[in-house]
């Protein structure tokens, strides 16, 4: 479970960034995330939807403890991420569209590296590795250098790295953004599997097809603030347009 209350993240901005924002912008800071609250529950997929630069990645980085909140609180499986970031990370897996793999390692070495960082014992590691490698079909290229693998193979390794320690919470930051349709399917399947295994799943996207395919709960973020937060069913019931995409655009433009 992830619980977020009144989360704000303020960044200082440089003169250059201020100039880029136009003559009307005089502040020295900007809120990438502003007073955001939501809860992600186990066995449900929480979708964070928003246009580019809305604050999705910042919100997920705050949950994953890469960034520290300016105000507000985040708890992951009951652990306060600010006070005990390492404990929180033990319970989390993080996956982005960028595979985030080391080209000069093999899939075996890559997954073992993360298993070691998660202090997995040898027996558990071996069992998990065999399960995941069999499920994803990694065995046949497990000893090859990652640089030589196709993007689909790389994504499988990336998935294996993310879930090797069997996390309770999985964070997906635009996981399909840079992927082709076939490779995207493996990610979508992974998200479904995580839900089936009663894991807490949060994923950000701007692909409407994925929203309708996966979402149990939905939050729409724009300029750092939530403009919708509820179940996907509620969202569908409240729709004033014909498609999710049109409704998303309407909400963003109205905000």
């Amino acid at each position: 479970m992830i619980a977020i209350e009144h989360l704000t993240k303020t960044f200082k901005i440089s003169r250059q960034q201020r100039r880029d924002m136009g003559p009307g912008f005089t502040s020295t800071t900007v809120d990438a995330v502003h007073d955001v609250s939501f809860t992600c529950n186990p066995g449900r997929v929480f979708t964070l939807l928003g246009p580019n630069g809305a604050g999705k990645t910042t919100a997920l980085r705050l949950i994953a403890t890469m960034l520290q909140p300016t105000t507000g609180s985040i708890t992951v499986m009951g652990v306060n991420v600010v006070k005990e970031p390492v404990e929180a990370r033990k319970r989390m897996g993080f996956l982005t569209g960028n595979t985030g793999l080391y080209d000069r390692l093999t899939p075996d070495e890559m997954v073992k590296y993360y298993a070691d960082l998660h202090d997995m014992d040898a027996t558990t590691y071996k069992r998990r590795r065999d399960e995941i490698f069999t499920l994803l079909g990694i065995h046949e290229f497990a000893k090859q250098r990652i640089a030589k693998l196709s993007s689909g193979m790389k994504q499988k390794v990336s998935i294996a790295r993310t879930i090797i320690h069997d996390p309770d919470v999985v964070v997906f930051d635009e996981p399909t953004a840079a992927l082709d349709v076939i490779t995207s399917r493996s990610i979508i399947q992974l998200i479904k599997n995580c839900r089936a295994q009663n894991k807490t799943v949060i994923f950000s996207t701007h692909r409407m097809g994925e929203v309708s395919l996966l979402s149990d709960d939905l939050a729409i973020i724009h300029h750092g603030s939530l403009i919708f937060n509820g179940t996907f069913k509620v969202f569908q019931n409240q729709m004033q347009t014909d498609s999710i995409e049109d409704e998303f655009v309407r909400l963003v433009e109205a905000a």
Partner: protein
């Protein structure tokens, strides 16, 4: 500690498998440096020999004087004497490369010498880059002629040549051969190892920080349940190891080059070997450690700040000049290790190495160098750790 080892082991494997890093860390110092050194020495020796053996074309104008000198020149091996030169055209002959030199004996040379005065011999030549061999060889001929004339003059006057030698200077250099060589050439060793240490650490530092950010692996690494300090420490240790390894390999490369170049006298090689005893090597390497830690901290700090591999390269490359400068100053004469220079980073290590090799290092100054470098290494490492913790550094430009 366990996570530090995990990160270190992974980064080491990753670094060893990076061909570019491996090239600058091992291949370049171990193969290319001896190769370049060997080729340069061989070319230098061969061009020196060629200059010595070259037939020098000498225009000779005696004005009917110095017959013995003219005969000596005619008989001299390696000279081709050309008669009938007009003295006024000497310069133009040399500038046109028709002649290498012109010797003009004064019109009244014989009579001046006979009257116990000085006769004039004018030597025209052009300074050149082939070791000024024309001037050296012809000056030797003229000196030889003067010597025989002087001997004849003293004989004629029935005098002993020793009467003009009023002072017999006796030089006693109390510096040992090791000391002389250490002071003269010892400066080159830190010059090499400081540069290679920096170069060897440079590419791993860029790859393990900026490269990791660019590939997107840093983001996922930061979600692992490991403190940032342990991640940094693992990377740091690999960069330090690469720097030290590179410096040691460069010294090994130089050693191999010295052994390979046959033109170096055997006695000199023995002297070099005797200088590099166990204690000297240990002391030099112990100085290398804080330098490398300092380099690693600076390099990693810049690299982690850079948005991409390319930006890190452009930020770090100019630094090599900053590193080379103090190492170069240490090679210059007149710079010695004193309480002030012992506090100037890199210069202090280079000067201390020179003194260690020469066997003249003073304990207190060495302690000051260690102290300065230890403080610098600790502060730079602490700064790097703080820098790595900053969100603005890690996520700059994302």
């Amino acid at each position: 500690m366990k996570h530090f080892v995990t990160v270190f082991r992974k980064e080491l494997i990753d670094t060893i498998r990076d061909r570019r890093t491996l090239f600058f860390m091992v291949i370049f110092p171990l193969v290319l440096v001896p190769l370049i050194l060997t080729i340069v020495t061989k070319i230098q020796t061969s061009s020196m020999r060629k200059a010595e053996e070259k037939i020098i074309r000498v225009g000779l104008v005696t004005n009917g004087n110095a017959v013995d000198f003219a005969n000596d020149l005619m008989r001299s091996h390696g000279l081709r004497i050309v008669d009938g030169i007009v003295p006024d055209s000497a310069e133009s002959f040399i500038n046109r490369d028709s002649l290498d030199a012109v010797i003009v004996v004064g019109r009244d040379f014989d009579s001046e010498v006979a009257q116990l005065r000085s006769g004039t011999i004018r030597l025209y030549y052009k300074s050149s880059d082939d070791y000024d061999m024309v001037k050296r060889r012809l000056t030797a001929e003229i000196d030889q002629f003067e010597k025989s004339l002087r001997a004849n003059r003293f004989k004629k006057l029935n005098l002993d040549e020793a009467i003009v030698k009023v002072v017999q200077r006796e030089d006693h250099d109390v510096a040992s051969a090791k000391e002389r060589f250490g002071k003269a050439v010892g400066g080159m060793i830190p010059y090499f190892f400081v540069i290679f240490c920096f170069m060897g650490a440079m590419y791993p530092a860029i790859d393990l920080a900026a490269g990791e950010k660019e590939r997107g692996t840093m983001e996922t690494l930061l979600t692992a349940p490991v403190s940032r300090f342990q991640i940094l420490l693992g990377k740091f240790a690999v960069v330090v190891l690469a720097g030290i390894l590179s410096a040691v390999v460069s010294l090994l490369g130089m050693y191999l080059a010295v052994r390979q170049v046959q033109e170096i006298p055997r006695e000199l090689i023995q002297l070099i070997m005797s200088m590099l005893d166990f204690q000297t090597v240990v002391m030099v390497l112990s100085l290398l450690l804080p330098v490398t830690v300092f380099f690693a901290a600076v390099l990693l700090s810049l690299s982690v700040f850079a948005k991409s591999y390319k930006e890190a390269q452009s930020m770090i490359s100019p630094l090599s000049i900053v590193v080379i400068l103090p190492a170069m100053i240490a090679v210059m004469p007149g710079f010695a290790l004193d309480p002030i220079t012992a506090m100037i980073p890199i210069l202090n290590v280079a000067l201390a190495t020179k003194e260690i090799i020469a066997g003249t290092i003073k304990g207190l100054l060495l302690l000051e160098v260690y102290g300065t470098m230890f403080v610098l290494a600790s502060v730079s490492m602490w700064g790097c750790a703080k820098w790595f913790e900053r969100e603005g550094t890690i996520f700059r430009g994302t």
